[in-house]
Structure formats: structure tokens, C-alpha cells
Amino acid sequence: MSPEFLVAVIITIVGAATPILLAALGELVAEKSGVLNLGVEGMMLIGAVTGFAVASTTGNPWLGVLAAAAAASMTSMIFGFLTLSLSANQVATGLALTIFGAGFSALAGKAFLGRTITPFVEVFPAELARHAIWRVVFGYSPLVYLSLIMVVLTAWFLKSTRAGLILRAVGENDHSAHSIGYSVIGVRYAAVAFGGAMAGVAGSCFSLVLTPMWAEGLTAGRGWIALALVVFSAWRPYRLLAGAYLFGAVMTLELHAKAAGGWFSVVPPEAWAALPYLATILVLVAISMRRSGGTSAPACLGKPFLPTA
């Protein structure tokens, strides 16, 4: 295996992993505050279509990313209002959000089918990546570096800041946090909004970098894989990073198998396409088996908060 081939493999893996990493980071923060938002897939689709619409209209992909974050975050507020202010069932509301996002993005995207966008300007000057080997460090889309920065920031926020501590307290024991005087609902709103924004950026990663174009349902269930990734990571940002790249590798196996030839080419393409979903199930089983007894999930995950007095 030549080093150039290896570099190409790594670059595709990182590319495929980045949107699920971004979306899963946002969901991780929301879940740390005790909210289970199953609408990631829907918010990603809203982000994907908004990002593409704005980028193709203005010609600036960064405006697209910002708009995607804003639109998906606003969409997540529907979920926030229903589950936090009206204490609706989080599972059902999240599902509704996904159905809504799929329908809305398909409708809004009609006008943008077949359009093109201006790609991102490379972060690093081309001279740095003159040798193919260096592309493994310098050759990615800006969103890849953004996702890495966000991993570090999120880990730092949750572990080392006062606000992060409050957020975790709200997720572990909402009534205690409430009785000390923290606004449980307020913290959760903020966490849900952040999760929405990150899902939006993740969606725009599909329509602005990976594909790059708009097609109905182009996220193809990756939002659900992001949800599984949060479980896989045991709610730890750095494990999330490792998990995302692992899933990225599984998702791009088909591509590399074709390039490698040999017995790989005997495997039908449908098997490769189904692999990420089956791998997700296997990973969930493996985690659950290793963690016999207690789980590391936030104690209040998915439970509505109803102040008792």
C-alpha cells in the first residue's frame, strides 16, 4: 500500500466522519444537560438545505454554514418549547422533528436542485501540502478543523468551566440544581440550541463539502448514527472523536475496497452500504456488554423536569 493511497484513505475517512462528529458533539452537550433529542437527522437536513441555499445565493460558503447553524438551532427550539416548556415526551417530539425536517428540507430544497456553490477556500496555502504526505495534515476542508476545535472546546467547557459544571449538574440531578437556584429549563434550552446549531453545521458539511449539492434526504440516516456515537463515547468528547473516525472508516470501506480490488470486489455494494448501520448495532451491544451494571448516561436523560414547589 503506497503512502499516497494511505493518505487518500485517511482524508476520505476524516471527511465522512466530520459531519457525524459535529452533530454528535452537539447532541452530547444536549444529553449532558438531560435532554434526549432524537431530531438530529431532521435538524441536519434543515441545516443542509439552508446552508446550500444561502451559499449558492450569496456565493459565500461561510455564510451558508452560519445560516445552517441558525436555521437548525431555530428548528431545535420547536423541540425545546414542546419538551421543556410543555414537558412533552422527548422521544415522540424528537421523531416529529425528524419527520418535519425531512419534509421541510425537501420542500425548501426544490428550488435549489441542480444548483452549484463556490467551494471553501483552503485553510492552509497549497505550498504546505506540496508533498502528498502533508495533505494528511493540511489538506482538509475548514469544517474539519472547526470540528476538531469544537471537540477541544466542548471537552474544556464541560470539564473545566463553571457553566459546564452547572450544565452537568442539571443533567445529573435536576431537582438539586433547581433547589440551589439554577434555571434547569434555561440551561436545557441553551444546550438544545447548541445541539441544533451543531447539527445544522453538520448538515451543511454534507451539502457544502461532501456532496456538494442538495438532494432530498442526502444525510441518509447519518443523524441517527451520530446519536449512537454519543452512546458509544460514554458522553466523553475525546472518545467521541475516536468513535467518529472509526465510523468514518466503516462508512468509507466500500470506496477503499473497490480501489483495493481482490476479494473485496466480490462483496456486493449493498453489503458495504448496510455495514455502518450493522456496525452501529454491534458497537452498541459491545458497549453494553462491557458496561455491566451501571451506565455512564446522565441520570436525568430523557426525563421531563417538573419543579415540585
Partner: protein, 346 residues
């Protein structure tokens, strides 16, 4: 009040839908009229309503039982496809045969296929404590790819000009029509019977009681000797089996062959049906018809006023949002006395 919320949700969806679609530059009022009234006022559309509602009701009944037990089966779409595929497998094996036993054999295979696909999340939940939401959902995607593989290879009709689809089913493999000259097939009365039986079982039998107690009060259920484990299995086998039944009725009814376009998202829409029907099999019949109206009406609006088909999904999602929001207003009065009893149940 319990039944006012779904009605209010549907009415509010119509009002808000008209406003939102007008803001988006469509003919909002026209869209609502086309979608929600045209299928009812035009008798030619009634048969369409019946055949669209049938699979939604059958799947929705199963899901309402699972959700009552607090088992979140999101994999009905996959179980629906699995059932249709199992039935198709029987059909392809019996292509050269004839006899009244073939269709029942296909239906049995369909139910078993749906159960088998539902058994996977049940096994993973009871043996490995893996959450059923993610596993059942992942299986939806997996089986679609299995379907594509079979249609592209082993199942492809040799006379089909290399289209990825099976041969047409023979008359003894197809669900008969209720009357000559209609498109109404036997799946429609079967759906009604399924819902009635489910209603009877849920409201009058120990099984139904067990499902409801385990879902509503797990500790009380354990004290009463009901096994949570068995309930998880029952919930997933029943909801999977019914989704499988819907699948085989659909493939042997309207489709009469297996095609790549078979998965149409009924399994997801049925989630809305289950909630709109208040997780009550009789309510599911009504909710199934309401959702069928949005499908049929959406098609009408597509041809008459050029509303994109995606609008249907938006109306359906809005209905669920508004129902969930309205539910709280229903439950709010109950919650007002909660502090007094919270200590005992916690």
C-alpha cells in the same frame, strides 16, 4: 378532553398549515382545502383512502401496543419491509404452483418475517440491555439494502428487461379485490378486524393489562408479578408481526410484485398514527384515515395546484407537534395534584 386534543391538533394543523404555506409563497388556503377536504368530498377518492389507511392502521395498532408498554419500536418500517420480503420469498418459491393455500402461506410468512425483524431489538434489549430505539432504527436501513441486493440479483425477474424487480405475482398469490371493478382489496377489512381484535385484547384481557401496567408503572408491574422482559418481547413481536402483516398485504395487494420503490415510509407515518389515535386501537382507525387523507389529498394538491409532495410530510409532522403540545394542556390539570403523590411512586 382526552380525545379533544387530537381533534384540536388536526384543526390547528389546517389553520397553521394555511398560514405557513401562504408565507412560503404557496396557495396556503387552497392547499389545506385540497389536502383535507378533497379526498372526503370526492367519492372517487374513498377507495384510495381505504387502501392507504389499511397499512397505516395495521402498523399503527402494533405500535400503539408497543408504546403502551413503553417499548419504543422505531423499526416498524424495517419490519414492514421484512414481512413483505418474507411473503415475497414464498411467492417466488410457489410461482409455478396453484392453490388456495399459497396466499395464506405468504401471509403467515409475512407476519413471521416482521416478527423476526422485531425480535432482534427485543433480544438485544433483554439480553444485552441495548436501547431499542437505535437498534430498531438501524435495522430499517439495513433491510432496505438487503432488499436492493435481492432485487438486483437472486430475485430479479428474468423476463423483466433487467429492471431490479420480481416477476408479477400469480392470481393465487395476490390479495383478491372486495368487489369486481374496484381497487379495494381484502387488506382493508383485515385492518379493521386487526384493530377491533387489538382493542378487545388491550381493554379486556390480562395481556392488555400487563402491557399497560408495565408501561405505566414498572414497579407496580414487578410487584404484581408481570415480567418486564416478557413484555418487551411481546411488544416487539406483536408490533413487528403486525408491521409484517401490513407489508405482505401491501405487496400482495396494490403492488403484486416486489419493486425497489416498495419502502414508502408507512412505518414512520404509522408512528404519528399511533399517537394521534391516542395509543388506542379504535382511535388508530380514525387516525389512520386522517393520515390517509393527507396522503391522498397531497397527491390531489400536487396535480391541481402544484403543491410539492413534500408538503404532506410537513402537515403530518405539524399534526404530531400540535398533538404533543396539546397533550400537555390536557395533562396539566392532572399534574396539578402531583406533588402530593410524587413521593410514593418515585
Amino acid at each position: 378532553m382526552l380525545y379533544a386534543a387530537p381533534v384540536a391538533a388536526v384543526l390547528l394543523t389546517m389553520v397553521l398549515g394555511a398560514i405557513i404555506f401562504s408565507l412560503m409563497g404557496y396557495n396556503g388556503v387552497g392547499a389545506v382545502i385540497e389536502i383535507f377536504t378533497r379526498p372526503i368530498t370526492n367519492p372517487l377518492k374513498w377507495q384510495d383512502l381505504g387502501i392507504k389507511a389499511a397499512p397505516l392502521v395495521v402498523i399503527g395498532v402494533g405500535l400503539s401496543i408497543a408504546y403502551r408498554a413503553n417499548v419504543w419500536n422505531i423499526g416498524a418500517e424495517g419490519q414492514y419491509i421484512a414481512g413483505a420480503m418474507a411473503g415475497t420469498a414464498v411467492a417466488l418459491l410457489t410461482m409455478s404452483m396453484e392453490g388456495p393455500w399459497i396466499l395464506p402461506a405468504m401471509i403467515v410468512a409475512g407476519v413471521l418475517g416482521g416478527m423476526a425483524w422485531g425480535a432482534i431489538p427485543a433480544l438485544l434489549k433483554t439480553e444485552f440491555a441495548v436501547n431499542e430505539i437505535l437498534t430498531s432504527l438501524m435495522l430499517n436501513y439495513a433491510i432496505v439494502h438487503l432488499l436492493y441486493f435481492l432485487l438486483r440479483g437472486p430475485w430479479r425477474d428474468p423476463m423483466g428487461f433487467s429492471f431490479p424487480q420480481t416477476s408479477l405475482f400469480t392470481p393465487s398469490q395476490s390479495l383478491p379485490y372486495l368487489w369486481q371493478g374496484t381497487i379495494m382489496h381484502w387488506g382493508v377489512p383485515i385492518a379493521v378486524i386487526v384493530a377491533l381484535v387489538a382493542w378487545f385484547v388491550m381493554s379486556r384481557s390480562v395481556f392488555g393489562f400487563q402491557i399497560k401496567v408495565v408501561g405505566a408503572a414498572p414497579s407496580a408491574a414487578r410487584y404484581g408479578g408481570f415480567s418486564t422482559r416478557n413484555t418487551v418481547w411481546l411488544a416487539l413481536l406483536v408490533s413487528g408481526g403486525l408491521a409484517g402483516l401490513a407489508g405482505i398485504l401491501e405487496v400482495a395487494g396494490p403492488f403484486r410484485q416486489m419493486v425497489p420503490g416498495f419502502p414508502t415510509g408507512y412505518g414512520f407515518t404509522a408512528i404519528i398514527v399511533a399517537f394521534l389515535g391516542r395509543l388506542n386501537p379504535l382511535g388508530v382507525i380514525v387516525a389512520g384515515i386522517v393520515l390517509a387523507i393527507t396522503y391522498v389529498g397531497g397527491e390531489v394538491a400536487q396535480t391541481t395546484i402544484g403543491l410539492p409532495s413534500a408538503a404532506t410530510g410537513i402537515f403530518q409532522a405539524m399534526m404530531l407537534f400540535l398533538l404533543l403540545a396539546g397533550d400537555i394542556l390536557v395533562r396539566y390539570r392532572l399534574k396539578a395534584v402531583r406533588p402530593a403523590t410524587a413521593g410514593e411512586t418515585a
